[in-house]
């Protein structure tokens, strides 16, 4: 869809050759391309796109108009137009644009579009962009916008889990699979089963034969796909029954130049990898204030979670009434819950160095923006490596490891060139990425994870904590 941006340019070039034959004669290139000022070309390109848009508007974007031809002739007669004009109109009318073309012209190549929903005439386009691909949903109804976007993102995550990555190449290589997937997860505009685990049982890269043996298999699949636990197969078996719980917290922080914390909150995710046989019933407990009344953790008190949201396997009604998190986990990896806690104490602000000496932050990346006309930066750092990246206008300072409590200073001198047109520098904030293992900035800890199964097997549970920041730990200066 996005390679067609070149097309207007080609049309313009041809038009120049016709309009300025004297320049075309001088042209060196084989195609007779005229050497034009890029600004003029850009200007003409915009004009051309505007004309295209105008024509589209004139034909009202009515993609369902079946037969414009009789009207073309009627209108032609009414205005007693020449045969030539009528012919041209006929040709325009016959050129029925597909929805994809309209989207390309109106959204992809239109830099003014600043909203993820665009309504043209009575057709609304919802789009999500990922790696230069547009995932577009089209409707003529008063659709449920949140559902559409959730669905788009779900589609992306399904595609990711099937192809590894979502980009142009993956789409080109897997278009048959994509058709199959869309056919399965969406029927008549209503999203159906979108559980990756279940989908993978019957939409595969190798073909399934519908032989007699497969019939039984299919019945099983279909029962699972529609059952109350659509996310889990019934016949899972493991030699070793293990469950891994990862508590991952992403710190969102913005600090003003003076060091006051403008906003500090934590997006927590509890990821679980369950390798458990049968249909286990799990109960899960946190040191959450909602559950625990009194202090349990040495110095600090129980953590106040402002809100949490659960994977669909968690029984919400039970959580609402008794505050227990109980569920039958899907097989393999899934996100059990997301939680937000806003009332994080000031210490979050300095998480980077404020934790226990025994812990250490790894993979610390500090990105310091530089003015746009920087040519080179001379940096002095006590540890790690600092490098100026001209393409992004930042100095990237990478520190593999910082001990807790340590303090480090960065000093650097930037060489600036003097430029004629002074571009405004946005002074983007300094961005810090880091990871701290075995530490949660909200103080959340897992108190227990109990697994109950009919066969009453023994299961091993592992818990890991990780606090990280990526792209959302910002310090203004």
């Amino acid at each position: 869809m996005h390679d067609t941006l070149k097309k207007p340019r080609e049309i313009i070039m041809v038009s120049y050759a016709v309009r300025f034959p004297e320049l075309a004669a001088k042209s060196k290139s084989v195609a007779g391309e005229v050497d034009m000022d890029p600004a003029t070309v850009e200007h003409d390109r915009q004009r051309l796109l505007a004309v295209e848009r105008l024509i589209l508007e004139t034909i009202c974007f009515n993609f369902t108009s079946k037969m414009p031809f009789p009207y073309v002739i009627k209108v032609g007669r009414a205005f007693s137009a020449t045969k030539k004009l009528t012919k041209l109109a006929w040709r325009l009318a016959i050129d029925r644009r597909s929805i994809a073309d309209v989207f390309r012209i109106q959204v992809v190549s239109n830099s003014d579009v600043r909203s993820p929903i665009v309504t043209l005439g009575s057709t609304s386009f919802f789009h999500v962009r990922v790696n230069n691909l547009y995932i577009v949903a089209v409707t003529k109804c008063n659709a449920n916008a949140a559902l559409v976007f959730e669905y788009c993102y779900r589609f992306i995550s399904i595609a990711k889990s099937y192809f590894g990555k979502v980009d142009e190449e993956a789409v080109k290589n897997n278009f048959v699979l994509i058709y199959e997937l869309i056919d399965e997860i969406n029927d008549f505009g209503y999203p159906q089963n979108s559980e990756i685990d279940t989908l993978k049982t019957y939409i595969t890269t190798e073909s399934i034969m519908s032989s007699a043996a497969a019939v039984e298999e299919s019945s099983k699949i279909t029962t699972q796909a529609t059952g109350a636990t659509s996310w889990r197969r019934a016949d899972v078996k493991y030699k070793k029954n293990e469950a891994f719980v990862d508590v991952v917290e992403t710190v969102n922080l913005s600090m003003s130049a003076k060091g006051t914390v403008l906003r500090a909150d934590v997006d927590g995710h509890i990821l679980m990898r369950a390798y458990l046989s049968g249909t286990p019933e799990c109960k899960f407990g946190l040191n959450d204030k909602l559950v625990i009344d009194k202090n349990e953790r040495g110095m600090g008190d129980a953590v106040e979670l402002d809100d949490c949201r659960f994977h669909q396997c968690v029984r919400l009604d039970e959580f609402d009434s008794t505050r227990t998190i109980s569920f039958i986990p899907p097989d393999g990896e899934f996100e059990l819950m997301k939680q937000v806690s806003i009332n994080v104490k000031r210490e979050t602000a300095n998480t980077c160095t404020n934790f226990n000496n025994k812990l250490s932050a790894t993979n610390v990346v500090i990105r310091i923006p530089t003015p746009l006309n920087t040519t080179s930066v001379d940096c002095k750092v006590p540890s790690g490596k600092a490098k100026y990246v001209p393409a992004e206008n930042v100095v990237v300072w990478k520190i593999p490891r910082i001990q807790g409590g340590a303090e480090m200073t960065f000093s650097g001198t930037a060489q600036l060139t003097s430029t004629t047109n002074r571009q405004v520098w946005a002074r983007p904030p300094i961005d810090v990425d880091f990871q701290v293992l075995m530490f949660t900035s909200s103080g959340l800890i897992v108190r227990f994870l109990k697994v109950f199964e009919k066969s009453n097997y023994h299961s091993i549970k592992w818990v890991r904590y990780l606090t990280k920041a990526s792209g959302s730990y910002q310090v203004r200066f």
Partner: protein, 734 residues
């Protein structure tokens, strides 16, 4: 297009055709894939229809899917050929494999070819009662597809009754799809004008839905919650019961489920009379709303637009959560803009300092549009919170100090609003503003500064000098600036008659002779007449006291707000517009939007205000004495200028007696009768423009945009404070 009758002899399609008929299985399958690939990039492969069709009967499920895909694409253009496939379809619906059965019934519903449909009914009948839930849930949706194509077939075959029975199905997924199908059919039936209630939700159905709600997939939950939103409860208890059962869904990971739950609660809360329960529900609603902001930006945006609506109804919902809405540096602009709006809505005395420092920060960002909006937000905060006004003004002064052109201009516009709200409070700021006179190049900023100079003409020593600059370049300025200059000079003259006599003469001359805008000319004539006939009256009119401005609490009319809250998370709620305006047959005229019952109450309000307007108009005496009818034809007073001419016409009497239902109807008829002399048209187009200008003007910036004199402004203001309703009514009129 019709090349299928004679297969091509060469080229890619010819090769494909050969491969499709190959004796090797793999080759055939590969060929089908290539056909689909060509179809995807919009090459015409319809000519291969018979060849592809030959490959339909196969054990390979993937190949079957591909052939079906091809059929779906071309069935509409080649219905007579699709008939050939019908037998295979019907046979497949009897296949022992449930996946094949479901696939066949799903595809048949998608073919959308008239001829196929007649063959669909029998297999569908069977599949609706299939033992496998996967087939049943697919068949349920197929009924909706069929209804879309041929409703009478659905009714004849009793499919609707079958669906209604299926709500009691043991499988939650089947229930969810049945609900989705019934809702779809219900909507289509209502749109077609049918009165039959296709999907009546009774209390028994309600219980089944509530049970299925906790068991089905996330998408199914949305469908069920939508159905719950439609249920009409009989008493408080039922509403409370629904609310209690729906509240746990707030914890769902899927944002659309959360928003659907919010919708149900908002609808059923209307019937909950228990104060404590309402409070509890509102309290429980806040955290999930905040959590919605940790979603991807598009979902955030939908959530923010809806939060904006929710806050208009219940401003207290998120009162302590303003910090959550602070913009992140890498938020997309559309998210930032919505956050700004919500931040202003949540602003109060306790958090105004944090808000101001945040807004100041935004004002130094690069995106011009965002910076302007941030500055506007500062102005709105000043108008909203009296105590913070001074701090806001200080922030604005700092911003003006940066001397960045667009920042200064926007700040000037905002200052004007602050002067409107707090007259004669911040006069000390005026010199700073005037110092930036040369930097202003945008009409709105210029007009605002001129308005300020005119308003405080007696306190600015060199006001005549400053205004002189604009008078010199009068003809080059844009119309809003011309209008403001004109008014400001007249104000100056009325306050300091001795020093500005020449200036006023000059501008009236230029405006009446050299100006192309009828609005400017008309206003100049009116001033001229006013000043020459009765300077005292001119003073009353031009220097009249203006009502203070305030921030509107809602951006849509109360009736529309209620409607939109009933559609939370839909496209309508995102646009803050009723669905009729953007779906259906293109543009819908204003008349066809049904008037809501709630508007009646608003009407009475508008009537009262309109009455006040008329009274004010009458007090303003009969100033404009048009004795020359020819003159009138040339320069009809524009817009509401005519209110000033109001004599006691019969319509006005009618209005004062309060007998009429629509005040604006009468106003127009008053315009029509009054002072119009030879013109017989009841409502010339200018009125329309003037009204439109008024009702669409941003509520807090009336001064530069309002069309005529300050006295008119005064007259117009009551209408403006209810802009949306007025707009509805006006649109209905014209």
């Amino acid at each position: 297009m019709a090349s299928f009758r004679a297969p091509p002899r060469k080229g890619e399609n010819f090769e494909l055709s050969a491969d499709l008929n190959s004796e090797y299985k793999d080759k055939r399958k590969d060929a089908i894939k290539r056909v689909i690939a060509n179809m995807t990039v919009q090459k015409d492969v319809s000519g291969l229809f018979p060849d592809v069709l030959k490959n339909m009967q196969t054990d390979d499920l993937e190949q079957k899917k591909l052939v079906y895909l091809y059929l779906m694409n071309y069935a509409k253009t080649q219905p007579e050929l699709v008939i050939l496939a019908v037998n295979t379809f019907v046979k497949d619906t009897d296949d022992p494999n449930p996946l094949v059965r479901a696939l066949a019934i799903r595809t048949m519903g998608c073919l959308r070819a008239e001829k196929i449909i007649d063959y669909l009914c029998d297999p569908l009948q069977k599949c609706l009662r299939d033992e496998n839930p996967y087939v049943r849930k697919t068949a349920a949706l197929c009924v909706a597809k069929l209804y879309d194509l041929k409703p009478e077939l659905v009714v004849e075959n009793g499919f609707i009754e079958t669906l209604q029975e299926m709500i009691a199905d043991s499988n939650p997924m089947v229930v969810a799809n049945t609900v989705a199908a019934l809702t779809d059919i219900h909507q289509a039936a209502v749109a077609a004008g049918s009165n039959a209630d296709v999907f009546a939700i009774t209390s028994t159905v309600l219980n089944k839905l509530l049970i299925a709600l906790n068991e089905c997939s996330e998408w199914g939950r949305v469908a069920i919650l939508n159905a719950l939103a439609r249920f009409e409860t009989e008493d408080d208890r039922e509403s409370e019961h629904i609310c209690e059962r729906v509240v746990p869904q707030f914890q769902h990971a899927n944002a659309s489920v959360v928003l659907a739950a919010v919708k149900v609660i908002m609808i059923h809360m209307r019937n909950v009379h228990s104060e404590s329960l309402t409070k509890q529900l509102v309290r429980k609603m806040a955290p999930p709303l905040v959590t919605l902001l940790s979603n991807p930006p598009e979902v955030q945006w939908v959530a923010l637009r809806n939060i904006n609506l929710l806050l208009q109804k219940r401003p207290d919902i998120l009162s302590n959560e303003m910090r959550v809405f602070f913009c992140k540096y890498n938020d997309p602009l559309y998210v930032k803009v919505e956050k700004l709006d919500i931040m202003v809505r949540l602003a109060g005395e306790s958090n105004v300092d944090a808000l101001l420092s945040e807004l100041k920060e935004y004002s130094s960002e690069v995106d011009v549009d965002f910076v302007r909006r941030s500055i506007k937000a500062i102005g709105q905060t000043a108008i909203k919170i009296d105590e913070a006004a001074e701090r806001c003004v200080n922030v604005l002064l700092e911003l003006i100090g940066t001397r960045v052109s667009y920042v200064v201009q926007e700040a000037v516009v905002v200052m004007k609003d602050i002067f409107r709200k707090y007259p004669s409070t911040y006069e000390g700021v005026i010199p700073t503003l005037c110092a930036n006179l040369d930097e202003l190049d945008e009409p709105e900023a210029k007009a605002s500064l001129i308005w300020i100079i005119g308003e405080y003409a007696n306190k600015i020593d060199n006001a005549d000098e400053l205004l002189g600059i604009f008078v010199d370049t009068f003809t080059e300025e844009s119309y809003p600036v011309q209008l403001q200059t004109l008014t400001a000079v007249v104000k100056l003259f009325l306050r300091k008659p001795d020093t500005s006599q020449g200036l006023v003469q000059r501008i009236l001359n230029t405006a009446t002779k050299d100006c192309d805008s009828p609005d400017v000319r008309d206003r100049a004539y009116i001033y001229w007449r006013l000043l020459s006939t009765d300077p005292g009256a001119a003073k009353n009119v031009v220097l009249a006291h203006r009502p203070p401005i305030s921030l509107p609490r809602t951006t849509v009319s109360p009736a529309l707000l209620e409607e939109l809250l009933g559609e939370v998370s839909s496209l309508a709620s995102v646009y803050h517009k009723p669905a009729e305006t953007f779906v259906g047959r293109g543009r819908v005229s204003a008349e066809s939007i049904p008037r809501k019952a709630g508007d009646l109450v608003d009407d009475q309000l508008v009537t009262q205000r309109a009455l006040q307007t008329v009274v004010i108009g009458q007090q303003a005496e009969n100033l404009l004495n048009f004795d020359d009818p020819a003159d009138v034809d040339d320069q009809q007073p524009s817009g509401i200028a005519a209110t000033a001419v109001l004599a006691s016409t019969p319509a006005a009497a009618n209005l004062l007696a309060g007998t009429s239902s629509n005040p604006l109807d009468d106003l127009v008829s008053i315009f029509g009768n009054s002072g119009m002399g030879s013109t017989s048209t009841p409502a010339p187009p200018q009125y329309q423009n003037a009204f439109a200008g008024l009702s669409f003007a941003s509520p807090i910036t009336p001064a530069p945009t309002a069309p005529v004199t300050p006295s008119i402004l005064q007259a117009a203001s009551p209408v403006q404070s209810q802009p949306q309703q007025a707009q509805d009514d006006l649109l209905g009129l014209f």
